[in-house]
Symmetry: C2
Subunit: 255 residues, 2 copies
């Protein structure tokens, strides 16, 4: 029954729903409706793309119901969906075989961090596709291909691993910036001075491996600086400093 | 005795020496000589900017000797320098009052990560200046101003704190990418898929605070995903995962 996906309904109105809705609309996909438990953000999203906010999941046919909700809500949504629907969800971690649905079900996972406040380019963002049937997988692939030039099929297992790596490079790095900013705030120093460094830290990895790109006291084995810096910190930040420093040192053992 | 700095000698031939030499030359500063314990990289640097490599520190006068060496080597270099020289060093951590030198001494610290393989824009890079005299501080400020539009005076104390924050956002984030890449390599997955995410992680911080920018299972309080991800990891990476996850959770306590 899979065919080219033209008309979709979106369930959810968080960051992922927001960005996918806007990008899909831009490439000519019709977003027939938005449904969301959160009426306020749901209406805001529907309004922003000139779509309709629905108070209940409609039974009217669309080519795809795109489920952009938290992992623990996916099954609850599927329970309310008519079996005649084709549905896909955007989670990085939820395995396909843990979900029960009699209609066709697939995965449409963009490996990226989304914030409402920020417009984002999707062209290079990897999308990982999976489905119970190859025809539906292909339809989802083609849909992703309209907004990204980096679309892959991936098993639930591989997707889970990629998501874990994404947590480390995005969530954890962002938290390190939060801790550094908190430290500078406390000392009355301006964290904005870190911004060019933050951008360059990411940018240099475009053509240098993280092993080669590593710099700093731990890489140099500069024990004097390391000791002084540890003494400047306290609490969780100090423990994180010590742990990552040791991990860097063991990556570059002294000759 | 401070005057406009036109002629400089550079001691050191590492990443910082390399990039400062090239940028200073570009804005019309004459790099009269390069001295380095490492002859190979010293000659390579001198050749690349059409300067002279010296086998010993020359006694011929220059307006500034720029010392781009590791912290523990700065004093050793100063011991060999003629007191008639004005000297500045590029360290983020070495306090000015821990160094002994009878000539004028200052700090010329660029808060950035430098790798030989990568060209870098310095215009937005913050430079932190300090000196034993205000006239020399001003001369160093003016020199930095030729290559950057973000130049500040900063005490040794503040510079040390900024450097520590820089270690956290650069060195540590880069190591997280290394750990994520190592994990994906082991699983036969392509770490290149993380690159758009890495770039966006940094880019979104241009106009969103790290507190607002935080996403992911720890921020959402998604215990199921956190437990599964911990079970997928081992060794140091697992410990780092647990520690940073806890730190994020305590930053966004459940209501």
């Amino acid at each position: 029954m899979s065919k080219v996906i033209q008309h979709i309904g979106i369930i959810g109105s968080g960051n992922v729903a927001w960005h996918l809705a806007h990008h899909l609309k831009t490439v000519g996909i019709s977003i027939d409706w938005i449904y969301s438990r959160n009426q306020e953000t749901g209406i805001a999203l529907a309004t922003s793309i000139h779509s309709t906010f629905e108070k209940e999941i409609p039974s009217k046919e669309v080519d795809l119901v795109l489920i952009c909700v938290t992992d623990d809500a996916i099954q609850l949504v599927l329970n309310q969906l008519n079996d005649s629907f084709q549905a896909a969800y955007t989670s990085g971690t939820k395995p396909l075989n843990e979900l029960e649905f009699n209609g066709e079900l697939g995965v449409f996972y963009p490996l990226q961090t989304f914030s409402r406040e920020r417009e984002i380019e999707l062209k290079e963002v990897p999308f990982f596709i999976e489905s119970t049937t190859s025809t539906f997988a292909q339809a989802l692939f083609d849909l992703a291909w309209k907004i990204s030039s980096n679309v892959q099929f991936a098993s639930s297992e591989d997707r889970k691993k990629l998501h874990l790596a994404a947590v480390m490079v995005n969530n954890f790095s962002n938290h390190l910036v939060f801790l550094a900013k908190t430290y500078l705030d406390e000392k009355g120093l301006n964290w904005e001075h870190l911004k060019p460094l933050i951008v360059e830290t990411a940018a240099k990895l475009a053509n240098i491996s993280p092993f080669e790109a590593q710099t700093g006291p731990a890489r140099r084995g500069d024990e004097v600086t390391i000791e002084k810096q540890e003494a400047m910190l306290e609490g969780t930040t100090k423990i994180i400093y010590e742990l990552i420093t040791k991990s860097i040192q063991s990556t570059y053992p002294k000759k």
